[in-house]
Subunit: 368 residues, 2 copies
């Protein structure tokens, strides 16, 4: 299904009714079980479909193929992944997040890793455990270092990370880096993403190979992929980058997207991260990822890392909001430093002061 403003269009119905047959749109693109085939076709086809949908909506579409969200409760999205994830990697693109984590874990030292201003830091995550919004998250077991010694137990420090995930449509060839100014020929769209994290499991395992089991149990994404071109009107200036940035990663302003996010715990909003605070743009992340010749595949997912900002209300993880357990927060039904079983976390996202473009929601409940 596709969504335009308050309307939801059933692409499979429109396609079988012949309404998507134009010279630029191949046949049977939307009868596939995922968006991957469509995503692989590139910007000309993406735009052609988008333009055609706008025409259809204006001209009036056959009964049952368009649903008005304002009126209807007839659109139910089941928790099914909107695309098949190929490789998933996760970055560390927010300066305030990287710096807050440094201050909490390594007080008194320079909070930013040495390479941080020169290149986007990132790592590969587990593609097989990226789940659709609504999928319950089972509290992970792990080996944890406690004052009483090592134990093997359920995590006591279950956290969330508010992120955006950029979805690759068009793949690339091995040995051929994609330049910053070519990145949008490859990037199809964006999802909301919650990178669930077990801070105690992560703390014990992460040296020197980085996050592994502290993250690999679950990553949740929203059910909609919002095409990049719909975000174009929300381009804005991102943080300044100094001459630390090497030439091949340079990108002029405006390079940030003005997406507002809201993190809620059991229905109580607890923070308002802003994607415009991200230091590295999606084009820079994609250019860096391929700069060593690594190829892209349709369905690759590049996440930003936790989105935080300079103010306390901008913080995108409990680790930062409750400052490593020091400052409990009030939610409707109690106080929290970390997540408890039964807690429901949701992230919503939108662009524009009147919520002009909705990015949907990613939600999950912690179970035992």
């Amino acid at each position: 299904v596709a969504r335009i403003g308050e309307f939801v269009l059933d692409l499979r119905q429109l396609e079988s009714a012949g309404l998507l047959s134009t010279t630029r749109i191949p046949e049977s693109v939307f009868s596939a079980p995922s968006l991957n085939r469509f995503m692989s076709l590139g910007p000309l086809v993406w735009r052609a479909v988008s333009d055609r949908l706008a025409e259809i909506q204006e001209a009036g579409a056959p009964d049952g193929s368009v649903h008005d969200l304002r009126a209807a409760t007839d659109v139910t999205l089941t928790p099914v992944m909107p695309f098949e994830v190929a490789d998933y990697c996760d970055f560390y693109a927010s300066e305030d997040h990287a710096s807050n984590i440094g201050k909490i874990l390594r007080p008194g030292t320079d909070p930013l890793p040495g390479a941080w201003r020169h290149i986007p830091l990132g790592y590969h995550g587990r593609a097989g455990t990226v789940f659709a919004s609504g999928t319950p998250v089972v509290r992970p077991l792990g080996v944890i270092d406690t004052p009483q010694g090592l134990i093997h137990a359920p995590t006591r420090r279950l956290d969330v990370e508010v992120e955006l995930g950029y979805v690759v449509g068009v793949g690339s060839k091995p040995g051929r880096p994609v330049a910053v100014d070519e990145a949008l020929d490859h990037l199809f769209g964006v999802v909301l993403l919650n990178d669930w994290s077990a801070r105690d499991i992560q703390a014990f395992e992460y040296q020197p190979l980085g996050p592994f089991l502290g993250k690999s149990f679950a990553t949740s994404v929203s059910l909609w992929v919002v095409p990049m071109w719909m975000l174009e009107s929300y381009l804005t200036d991102g943080p300044e980058q100094g001459d630390e940035v090497p030439g091949h990663l340079n990108q002029p302003q405006p390079r940030a997207y003005d997406v507002s996010l809201e993190l809620s715990l059991n229905g109580t909003p607890i923070s308002r991260p802003q994607a415009r605070n991200l230091h590295w743009s999606p084009s820079q992340l994609l250019a860096h990822l391929t700069s060593n010749g690594a190829s892209l595949r349709t369905g690759d997912l590049l996440a930003t890392g936790t989105i935080s900002g300079p103010e306390p209300q901008d913080r995108g993880s409990l680790m930062e909001i409750a400052w490593g357990g020091r400052d409990p927060i009030d939610v409707g039904n109690g106080r929290r430093t970390w997540l408890e079983d039964g807690d429901t976390v949701s992230i919503r996202g939108w662009c524009g002061s009147h919520h002009d473009l909705m990015l949907g929601e990613v939600e999950g409940t912690v179970t035992q």
Copy 2:
């Protein structure tokens, strides 16, 4: 194709001739383009096919479906992946490798990371850049820290890592750890693996998120997946593990596989790593990977990390063999500390003193 001793059997031909139709083998398993469907069917089917192939070979098979490797040059394997990789992760399971790297990079400190004896350390790699043996490897570009400052240039420290890769056949459910003694119900087989590494790119980027672009440009695997059950006769005692190992990862001896490997550079053998020196067994790696509830998929690839041993001839990377650039080695056509363009690296593997079970070869040539 399947290989038994010196014979190669064409499974697709045998299947369409009806020779694989037994009660335990589903239809059309081998008409698929990869082994994944067969691998997903589990130990009973794997054994049934294996038994049936032995029968066919003894009884005599139709013309053209069996090739004698001793006589024939009629079996040519094209560089096509024998299976589709789902998630790829890489461990750090050799104590001598981890310890050598510690001594080279952090001299004077404890060379083993703190958690190393308690849990297998690992990270996720890039599944989309796992290539079949024979695929050329393009020298990666990256940001490198030099005495003259940061540069963006082709790596000057291109290395190899001799590894085994264990291939998952049967998947598992999210939130359900697989126990050590259940791991072989999930693991289908083993490949030889070369984890190409750019040490200078890796050195600049790896704190705190681990290896990323220093590894993600290419990983090569052999064209054969050797089923785990064929390795059973080569089980042997691995290194002793103390009571640092938590209960859920305990596994009695014999838990190591006695696989001999040989690393050659431009045709000159330069080391002989032994898989029996690996500290952690494949069952322990798989149990650890799923211990946080992360699910498995058919095609997941778990690599051991570089296989080194106590003696210099056991070392599985140039970093260790030439000790970080200090001790150049002689190869037929010159001296090397790192790989040069045009260099061909191959890894062969076998079990038994008379090469009773061959694991094939993984090979690649460095190009500009």
